[in-house]
Every structure is written in C-alpha cells, then in structure tokens.
Symmetry: C2
Subunit: 148 residues, 2 copies
DNA sequence: TGACTCATGTCAGTAGTATGACATAGATTG
DNA sequence: CAATCTATGTCATACTACTGACATGAGTCA
C-alpha cells in the first residue's frame, strides 16, 4: 500500500498525520453540509450561538478559528438570510450581541444531525480509553503550540 | 480558565479539538515560514520532492492535501522562480516528473529547520508512549473517515 | 482629567485554494 | 480491435479567508 511506499519521515511525522486527519474531517463535514447549503464555519457559528447565545462577532470568530473580519462577513449574510439577529446599536461599547432566530435554530438542527454522524464515524473503532488519550494528546499539542 | 467556562459539548468534542490543534499547527508553521517567503503548501511540496524525486503534479497534490489544480498553479510559480524543473514534454503519457533544483534544495533546508522546531515544540511535554498512542489514534480517525 | 493602550466592528484589497470544464494518454473490457 | 473508463495536465472562474487599515469605545495610569 501507499503507506509502505511512503518515506519513513512522512509516516513518523505527527504533524503530517494531524494535517491528514483534519483534512479528512473537513472533507467529510463539507460533504454532509453541502446539501444543506452550509459551510463548516457557517455551521460552527450557529452551533456556538446555540450553546452560548449573545456572543459577539469577535468571540464567535475566536470560537470558530477564523478572523473577526471573516466572521463579520459571514454574520452579515446570516443576518440577511434571517438566521441570526443583532441589535442596530450596541447596548454597551461597540459589542453587538448575536442571537439565533427560530429559522436559524431549525437550520442548525438538520446540520447537527449530519455532523454528529461524521464525528461518530470518525470515532468508530476507538475505545473510550483511546478517545481519552487522544483528547489528552491533542490538548497537550495545542497548549505547547499556543504557549507563545 | 476558558475550559471551565466553555460548554461541555465543546470540550468533549474530539472533532473540535482536532480542528483547534490543526489551526494551532498551521498558524505556528505559517509564522516561521512567512519570513522565508513560503506558504505551507509551498514548503510541503519541496519537502515531498526532496524525499521522493520525480513526483508528478497530481501525486504532489495528493501528498500535500490540495487539488491538482492548486498544485499546478504552485508548480508553475516554483518553476518560474527556479526551485523546480519539469521536462517540456512528458516521457510517457501526460505525466511530468518534477525535480528539485539546487536552488530549491537550498531554500528547503532553511525551511526544514524552522518547521522542525515547530514540530518539536508541539511534541514537547509528550512522552514517547504518548506520541505513539496519538499516532495510533490519529491513524484510526483518518482510516474511519476515508473509508468512504 | 488627559494620554495611552487595547479590543471591537467594519471596509477594502489580496492570496490561496476550490470547482467546473476540456483535451488527451493509458488501462480495461467486451 | 473498438469502446469505455480512469487519470492526468491545464485553463478559466469563483469563493473563502486573510492582511491591512481606519474609526471608535472602554479600561489603565500618570
């Protein structure tokens, strides 16, 4: 198979494997979200708002791993399409708290089912113990990388 | 900390963690490659060519997780800048085997040092055993996701 | 209080990558 | 052998997210 043909460095590189895994996950998610007319960031934004209503543009950006400029563009389209609402002017400062509309919540429900099935497929074949160590390992990598 | 504040669903989602880790790795790599005038795909392409000379456009695309169209654009610029060479016409079929030039090899050397330091930082704080289980876990996720 | 720093929302421009489409070479199959 | 399928290289186009930049509000501190 291709794994035997590939150079050893590639196979021993956790960075390469991490990239491969994230690409595989992204592809799988795009595949199930595309029929619903959603991108991953689009879905992530709605999901985040469902769990933590009232989040601001910048907070949503951080939670979905995009810049606040990108999230701003997305929020404008979501607002135009009636999935979220923001007050015309900020209650305090410049921060505009965002809320899901009923339409946004309905749209999210379908997407959540689709995404959950992808995640379940990803984790199939892993025991609870294996999932736990994967969690710890990923957390460690994240912490080491972000720590400056 | 933010981990305590965040919703439980987020923290228990390995998919979310996987995305966070890959974003952290990508940012860290972009940070060290930018001063060298390289993107991640740019570096990955050179690295792959160093390990497996003569790879075609499509093979490089698969190895770096982009489409063959994107890789084609990149290869044209790499060829224009003298980092790689391709024969004017295909020895067999339509496949054009690509080779690193001396200039490309020199350029790659600096990048390799920078990227290796990032990977080492990512793995700092993980034992060999932890790295091994992370390897197995990621491999399992990849296999499950790609398996259709 | 006034100067400074930081975070936010937003606009404009750019870069990287993807999708769609086409022609062509090799492999497969009847 | 002819027809079909698969893979490749490439062009044109579109989209997603980024960087740069600006004005403004809030906290900090001398």
């Amino acid at each position: 198979m291709s794994q035997d043909e590939a150079g050893v460095d590639l196979n021993t590189s956790l960075g390469y494997l991490l990239k491969e895994a994230s690409v595989a996950l992204r592809s799988a998610m795009e595949e199930v979200l595309r029929p619903l007319g959603m991108t991953i960031t689009h879905y992530s934004c709605l999901e985040l708002l469902a769990q933590r209503p009232g989040l601001s543009n910048s907070e949503l950006a951080r939670g979905t791993f995009v810049t606040r400029q990108s999230m701003n563009v997305l929020l404008q389209s979501l607002e135009r399409d009636g999935f979220v609402t923001r007050p015309a002017e900020a209650p305090v400062g410049k921060v505009l708290p965002t809320q899901l509309t009923a339409s946004g919540r309905r749209s999210l429900e379908k997407a959540t089912v689709a995404v959950r099935s992808v995640e379940e497929r990803m984790l199939s074949g892993m025991s609870d113990a294996e999932r736990a160590v994967a969690f710890v390992a990923l957390s460690s990598m994240i912490h080491s990388l972000k720590d400056r």
